[in-house]
């Protein structure tokens, strides 16, 4: 097992480095001179040249890249062009908020999505199935910010049940997390339903029935454990959508997380912040995928034994 974990870890490091390179390439295409941005339009050419030298802006591309990576490994993401303060501090203080939001959203999605999917599969073609499939389609198609605005309108501005903005309390997370969870919830309903249907057709389910097992134990013990395996993988993949979605949702609900930091930085052309924010989010996504892969290897006995020699 250790070998598998190391393998996947290695892959992750490779991917993260690759991402950092791509983002660095994209960011270095930004027109404009950071030195001017920092010093302002009225600075003299000498001052600008001096700062350019100091920031290493005249170095060749790969030197700059490796400098960046080197610094990154020390936790130094450079300083914001705007505030002059270390980027890392800002990101680090906002990260928990975004993380809480994503985790809560995934929790809601799984809490509702998986059971509904199971029920739809058992009662295939029934009224319940039809309703849940329709709602799943709706949640998968509605833009998350529209859903957010609607929820805000109804539950916040009109019914005053939840705060509309900010993160004062746990309640402030509810509407944003629900909004963010919608798409993944829909995916989970559909995936769980389809894997359950597949599994219920399998021979070993027929064997279980011939032993006299109750329908309940067939669904929960025999079928579910098999059906959930592919679903877990989907959870990992969808987390990427979730993290991307936090950017939008934070904007809708004015939540001070990495998303809003990113948007502001983009408008202000604060490149180091933009780079760091995107790196962080993609790093988080890669970590989640790694974790999911490892968990999967542990719970699927067929994979597990591939990596365990007797």
């Amino acid at each position: 097992m250790g070998k598998y974990i190391l393998q996947r870890l290695g892959m992750m490091v490779f991917v993260v480095l690759g991402i950092s390179f791509i983002i660095f390439v994209i960011m270095s295409l930004t027109p404009g001179n950071p030195a001017i941005l920092i010093l302002g339009q009225s600075a003299s050419p000498d001052q600008i040249a001096a700062l350019e030298e100091k920031m290493g802006l005249n170095n060749p591309f790969f030197v700059r890249y490796f400098d960046y990576i080197g610094n990154m490994l020390h936790g130094d993401f450079g300083n914001s062009y705007l505030t002059g303060l270390p980027v890392f501090d800002d990101i680090f203080s906002r990260f928990p908020t975004t993380l809480k939001l994503s985790a809560l959203a995934m929790f809601f999605a799984a809490l509702v999505g998986i059971p509904v999917g199971v029920i739809s599969a058992i009662r295939q073609y029934s009224f319940v199935d039809a309703i849940s499939t329709t709602l799943a389609l709706l949640f998968a198609s509605i833009p998350n910010f529209v859903l957010g605005l609607i929820l805000m309108l109804v539950f916040s501005l009109n019914l005053h049940m939840f705060p509309a903005t900010g993160v004062q309390s746990f309640a402030s997370y509810v509407l944003p997390a629900l909004t963010l969870s919608a798409m993944t919830m829909a995916t989970l309903v559909r995936m769980t339903r389809s894997t359950m249907l597949e599994v219920l057709k399998q021979d070993y389910i027929r064997t279980a029935r011939s032993k006299g097992a109750t329908e309940r134990s067939i669904v929960l013990t025999h079928a579910l454990r098999n059906a959930l395996l592919p679903v877990i993988t989907v959870i990992g993949v969808d987390f990427g959508y979730l993290l991307g979605g936090t950017v939008v949702i934070e904007s809708v609900f004015s939540i001070p997380g990495i998303g809003t930091l990113l948007i502001t930085a983009i408008r202000m052309k604060d490149t180091p912040v933009v780079m760091a924010a995107i790196m962080f989010v993609t790093l988080a996504y890669s970590l989640v995928n790694l974790t999911v892969d490892i968990i999967y290897a542990f719970i699927d006995p067929r994979i597990k034994s591939q990596y365990e020699k007797r």
């Binding site: 021979d203 070993y204 064997t207 011939s210 006299g212 097992a213």
Partner: protein
């Protein structure tokens, strides 16, 4: 006179789907004594598995319907009328079934020992966990698998060993009836013999009656006491193994079945398979279902279904030609 363990009378059953009605079983009649092994023989699609599923009450609820006949099982009464909850107490306990493909019959994510233990949990809940574990160990040993392997998963076993696990599972609660649907078809020939022998011994040990579904006449000769030949949802011939293998009289289909086996002793240039295909259960021909392919087909065969007639001892043939005594080898 011993009471029959299993008595099926005129069982008729159909599948109803959007594409039409498939008359899979037409007046099937079978019986089984205690301790007997009945070989149910026929081509794919003859209705053998459906008969087995009907006995077990495992027909798909939305599409499979028993439209006539009865299945009487030991002291448990008429099975076709029973509620599902009652059938569940019988299934796995008094009646058990093993299926053709061992590779897919076991749950891949549950330990093999736990799958066997499940039968005890369902049908003998009063036993303590330790007692159940002991029984699981005993069953595994009995089928030739070291009990130390009970924590392994299905994919860690070979095909033959998987089938042994399946057999252990089926026999764990010492059922009165075991239905084995082509248990060795998916296995290598050498493993086949092992598994069959093991089944024979276990059957004797537990005094279990068995219905062995197969298309292999060789297996029938080796392991069965009685034989029933099935075609297009009807039993067209039945009798003891001796009667079937040694009688001069046969249903033309059975003659064809025997004739299509290569014989080491004879010097034949070509095999003589039976011409044509089994009729589609959605469009059964009038009269005898076999008449289209039958070399002895007569006018009456096209119109009337023949009734089963005893030609000697327990040997029954359902054929107009045989009735007239005109059928000769």
């Amino acid at each position: 006179m011993a009471n029959k363990l299993l008595e099926i009378r005129d069982l008729t059953m159909e599948y109803r789907t959007d594409d039409g009605i498939s008359k899979v079983l037409n007046n099937v009649s079978l019986s089984l004594d205690e301790g007997e092994t009945l070989g149910l023989v026929g081509e794919t699609g003859a209705g053998k598995t459906t008969t087995a599923l009907s006995i077990m009450g495992l027909l798909p609820k939305k599409t499979g319907f028993i439209t006539g006949g009865s299945i009487d099982f030991d002291v448990y009464g008429e099975l076709t009328k029973k509620r599902e909850a009652e059938m569940r107490t019988i299934r796995g306990h008094e009646m058990a079934m093993i299926f053709q493909d061992p590779m897919t019959s076991l749950n891949p994510v549950i330990r093999v020992g736990d799958q066997i233990k499940e039968s005890f949990k369902i049908h003998m809940p009063d036993l303590s966990s330790a007692e159940m574990d002991k029984k699981v160990d005993d069953m595994l040993e009995m089928v030739g698998i070291p009990s130390s392997r009970k924590n392994d998963y299905a994919h860690q076993f070979s095909g033959g060993m998987k089938q042994r696990v399946v057999i252990a599972m089926a026999l764990s609660c010492e059922p009165r009836l075991l239905i084995a649907d082509e248990p060795t078809t998916a296995l290598d020939v050498t493993i086949q013999a092992q598994v069959l022998n093991m089944m024979k011994e276990l059957k004797k040990k537990f005094n279990t009656s068995m219905i062995l579904i197969t298309h292999d006449l060789g297996i029938v000769a080796q392991t069965c006491d009685r034989v029933a030949v099935m075609y297009a949802g009807t039993i067209i011939e039945s009798g003891s193994v001796n009667e079937i293998f040694e009688s001069g009289k046969h249903h033309p289909y059975t003659t064809g079945l025997f004739g299509s086996i290569p014989d080491l002793k004879k010097d034949t240039k070509r095999l003589s398979p039976i011409d044509g295909l089994m009729p589609d259960p959605m469009e059964l021909p009038a009269g005898c279902a076999f008449h289209v392919r039958c070399p002895k087909c007569m006018e009456i065969c096209r119109e009337t279904m023949p009734k089963g007639k005893v030609v000697s001892g327990t040997h029954m043939i359902s054929c107009h030609a045989a009735e007239g005594g005109m059928q000769n080898e």
